[in-house]
């Protein structure tokens, strides 16, 4: 069955998504009771059949069903059902188990108004969520918002309180950063026309509130893949001094592949490359090995996803005209899932040096399924281990060179992580480590 084999490779979508339900969910239909029951059953059974670990990591999944099914009769609407199902999935204590509101998902061009943009980019810095950048030309560019501002509240949600809750729940700093930045980002990507109020504190200590309006995402979007929705896609390529090329993309999706290939092919043979995975929540997981094929002249493994009955390797196959010079990869607490698989694989194989802050350890290949209510269930079907057998989920990737930006760096427009990577790339080209063959790799 060779043709089936090809499709099997595409089963893992390593993307961490956090979507909040729009304010006005549709009212329950007449068949609500039946739909509620079927949705509950679908979620529980899907996990029961496909969870990658037959022991459920020690969780008594049958007992979990009884516990939450007992509360099901009291659930009066879809919002309540989402909360109940999310709590049930939360018992697994694993990432990539979520209920996505259908109203927030985009499957057609007409639905793209459901995901807007404010132009505000956020990052987890000094244990707070701060504005990392504001896109030129966006509505936010003209408002009293500045990189380095700490986000205190978004609408009625107190970010400090949320952070405290996460810390009390035992989340690592990287996980806190991931959850908080994803939460705020999802609000900042509300439907077009939605007004969002940000309360920020500047470096001077003064607080102010600013109202933003979500605008349309005019850039390219990924295509939906079955039940996996469409998303805005961004890819940035910059040519830095000293023949260093910089590549950043916001998600591992098909539309970025062309730009990535083109960039990797065009890096000068004696040049260097920075791949910035900061804030990248993942995407199609095989793209981690696919992109890495353009960075290698030999076959190597980036890791293996282990399922309940089988495993699939992330095998890197070298591509013609691959770039073989030095590579730096930038990560932070927003680098999740496929980003972590790629960073870990390149790090362990020695192909790249990793800079920045620890990633959150949220790397479970997952799938999406439409539920009877129309909402989407994201569920993990595999665990990922590096070639040395290290589980990425719950551990994350530790940079080879830890670099922590400060709020002052953001305010001043400095990027110490990128600076460190550039310094290393310059140094390593001046004093290359001897290769086993005695030939510089980039001369082949």
């Amino acid at each position: 069955m060779p043709k089936i084999g090809a499709l099997l490779l595409l089963l893992g979508v390593g993307l961490l998504r956090a979507e909040e339900a729009p304010a006005a969910a549709p009212p329950p239909a007449d068949d609500w009771v039946d739909k509620r029951e079927k949705t509950f059953a679908t979620v529980w059974e899907t996990v029961n059949e496909s969870y990658y670990d037959a022991t459920f990591g020690g969780v008594d999944w049958l007992a979990v069903r009884e516990k939450y099914h007992g509360d099901l009769a009291a659930v009066a609407d879809n919002d309540g059902l989402r909360r109940l199902l999310q709590r049930m999935l939360g018992e697994l204590r694993r990432t990539h188990f979520a209920i996505m509101p259908r109203e927030a998902a985009v499957f057609t061009p007409g639905e793209r108004v459901r995901i807007g943009t404010t132009g505000v980019e956020v990052a987890y810095v000094e244990n707070v969520v701060a504005i990392a950048g504001i896109k030129a030309g966006s509505a936010a560019a003209h408002l009293d918002l500045h990189p380095g501002d700490t986000i205190r509240r978004i609408d009625d949600r107190d970010i400090g309180v949320m952070g405290d809750y996460l810390k009390q729940a035992g989340c690592s700093p990287a996980r806190c950063g991931l959850y908080l930045t994803q939460f705020i980002s999802s609000r900042l990507r509300s439907a077009v026309g939605t007004k969002v109020t940000l309360t920020v504190r500047g470096l001077d200590g003064a607080e102010r509130s600013v109202e933003l309006t979500c605008e349309a995402n005019e850039g390219p979007w990924s295509e939906p893949m079955g039940d996996f929705p469409s998303m805005p896609v961004e890819c940035t390529v910059r040519h830095l001094p000293d023949r260093i090329d910089y590549l950043h993309f916001n998600i591992f999706a098909r539309p970025i592949m062309k730009e990535v290939k083109s960039t990797l092919k065009s890096v000068p043979v004696d040049g260097a490359l920075v791949i910035d995975l900061r804030g990248n929540p993942g995407g199609i997981s095989i793209m981690a090995s696919g992109i890495s094929g353009w960075l290698s002249d030999h076959v190597f493994s980036m890791g293996t996803m282990h399922m309940r009955q089988g495993h699939i390797g992330y095998t890197v196959s070298p591509q013609t005209s691959a770039f073989l010079g030095p590579v730096a990869v930038l990560i932070d607490s927003g680098s999740a899932s496929t980003s972590e698989i790629m960073a870990a694989g390149l790090q362990e194989s020695g192909r790249a040096r990793i800079f920045g802050e620890a990633s959150p350890g949220a790397a479970l290949p997952s799938q999406m399924k439409t539920l009877p209510t129309g909402d989407l269930l994201q569920y993990a079907v595999a665990d990922v281990q590096t070639p040395k057998g290290v589980l990425i989920e719950g551990r994350g990737v530790t940079p080879d060179q830890a670099v922590k930006p400060s709020l002052a760096d953001l305010a001043a427009g400095r990027d110490p992580v990128l600076d460190a990577a550039q310094q290393w790339l310059e140094a390593v080209r001046r004093h290359p480590a001897p290769s086993p063959t005695g030939q510089p790799r980039n001369q082949k």
Binding site: M1, P2, K3, I4, G5, A6, L7, L8, L9, L10, L11, T46, E49, S50, Y51, Y52, S222, E223, P224, M225, G226, D227, F228, A253, R254, M257, I284, I286, M287, S289, G290, G293, W294, V299, S301, T304, M307, R308, Q309, G310, H311, I312, G313, T315, S317, Q319, T320, Q367, M368, K369, T370, V381, A382
Partner: protein
């Protein structure tokens, strides 16, 4: 050895191992009085044959004499076969009688003892875990040749044509060389050490390659010289056989060679099911199929992802599958007769190797069902089960590498309706799956499933065939690897 042959999956290697086995037991003897089939009536030819007789007779004397060989009734060999670095060595016990009964016991590293035996009527094989089966005539012939310890007194019949070749030097030793031609026209060169008279080297052309066997560490056992170390080379493969012990004329219990009575019924039933499957599914008509073009849709029911798929196949095993999925783009997999390859927008180009390549080649084989029994020589009959309104009879099929899976046949139609097996997923992946075949339709006299459902805990993939065309012209260029 037959076992090594199957592992190699190469007809060429088969012949090498047959040649080699002639050395594991005893060495064939050319009787001094045999007349060549086509001897030229000139003195030179007579002189050549006289020289050959001298070489062979000297060799026979060095072995211990034909009278000793003629007295042999039973033989027991214990050896260790190594297939190269990183591969487990296999302990092998062989028992044989002068009447032609034999029993090979191989200790497989993972699955324990594999027995291949012949009791004078049935040539059979069995492994407790993998199952049992009858040996094919070719396998049996190879096994028989390997334990023909009286071969030296039959060699005249084996090699009717013999030719003296110029001396050759191997590893600094000058060796006498004769070329032997068997009744099928196969040629072998034997190299003799003029100092000892012993045969120390064999060469045979197998396809474009040369197979060689080297004998050393000769020791006398009950008056007969045996090579205790044999090394066979063929291509990249090196098989090293170290003899641990040889014992002659220790009577063997006939029970050792007999097909266990308990298996006879199951063997017959398995054969009946497989024969019916081939007959009723129209598999025999596969011989008339030269090409096949299939269009369909693959749907991953767990994700809602639908993929358009087209497959081109051409005998013997050229293959190309193209898929186009939204959000993923195009992916292709193919085999052009030499290279198994894959290309996708997201992963680029790569070639296949190992188990993935074997799966590709096996899946590409248009006449695959006809070769099912040859590919999976070990079988087990499973209990009949009720599946909805039909009854299924199951057969567990296995190769010597391990189980190939459980295959279930409808007891009314004898169509293959379910397979529980493993599939290679990429260069280093393997998934346990259940494949259900349904919606059988007659295509040129062959019953093909138009719906295949693949199930694994992580997914459920349904392939629906939309159209099948057979014997349409397909250029070989269709299967050439795409790198961009």
């Amino acid at each position: 050895m037959t076992l090594g042959m199957k592992w190699s999956r190469s007809g060429a290697r088969v012949r090498l191992l047959v040649v080699a086995l002639l050395a594991l037991g005893l060495s064939p003897r050319v009787l001094s009085v045999e007349t060549p089939v086509a001897a030229p009536p000139v003195d030179a030819a007579a002189d050549e044959q006289a020289q050959i007789r001298d070489i062979v007779n000297r060799w026979l004397d060095a072995l211990g004499g034909d009278w000793r060989i003629e007295r042999l009734r039973f033989a027991d060999y214990h050896s260790v076969i190594s297939f190269g670095p990183g591969l487990p060595a296999i302990d092998t016990y062989v028992r044989a009688t002068a009447d032609g009964a034999y029993r090979y016991d191989y200790e497989l590293p993972k699955f324990g003892r594999l027995t291949q035996a012949f009791d004078g009527q049935n040539a059979w094989q069995q492994n407790a875990e993998l199952g049992f089966g009858l040996l094919s005539p070719a396998e049996h012939a190879q096994n028989l040749g390997g334990v023909d310890f009286r071969a030296p007194i039959k060699v005249g019949a084996y090699f009717p044509v013999r030719k003296l070749l110029p001396d050759a030097t191997i590893n600094g030793r000058r060796l006498r060389v004769i070329e032997l031609t068997d009744r099928q026209g196969g040629q072998t060169k034997w190299f003799f050490d003029p100092t000892t008279g012993l045969r120390v080297h064999i060469e045979a052309n197998i396809g474009p390659d040369v197979a060689t066997v080297d004998f050393s560490d000769f020791r006398r056992v009950q008056g007969i010289q045996e090579p205790f170390h044999t090394v066979r080379h063929f291509g990249q493969q090196v098989v090293d056989v170290k003899m641990l012990s040889v014992l002659y004329n220790e009577p063997a219990d006939p029970v050792l060679f007999a097909l266990p009575a308990a298996w006879i019924d199951d063997t017959n039933e398995v054969q009946r099911v497989l024969n019916n499957y081939l007959r009723l599914s129209g598999a025999a008509n596969l011989d008339r199929v030269q090409t096949r073009f299939t269009k369909g849709v693959l749907e991953n029911a767990a994700t809602g992802l639908k993929t358009a798929t087209v497959t081109y196949q051409k005998r013997p095993n050229l293959f190309l599958n193209k898929q186009e999925a939204p959000g993923i783009g195009q992916t292709m997999q193919g085999f052009d007769g030499k290279t198994g390859w894959a290309w996708s927008e997201l992963e680029g180009y790569r070639t296949m190797a190992g188990a993935e390549l074997q799966q590709m080649i096996g899946g590409a084989d248009l006449a695959g069902p006809l070769r099912l029994q040859a590919v999976c020589p070990l079988r087990k009959l499973l209990e009949e089960t009720q599946d909805g309104d039909r009854r299924l009879v199951g057969i567990a099929l296995a190769t010597f590498q391990g189980p190939a899976g459980n295959f279930y046949f409808d007891t009314k139609t004898f169509y293959l309706v379910r397979a529980e097996t493993f599939v290679q997923a990429g260069p280093s992946g393997q998934l346990k799956i259940v494949a259900d075949f349904s919606d059988f339709r007659d295509v040129d006299g062959i019953m093909l499933p138009f719906v295949t459902t693949i199930t694994n805990p992580a997914m459920r993939i349904v392939e629906r065939v939309e159209s099948v065309q057979q014997n349409v012209p397909l250029d070989d260029a269709v299967f050439v690897p795409r790198k961009e």
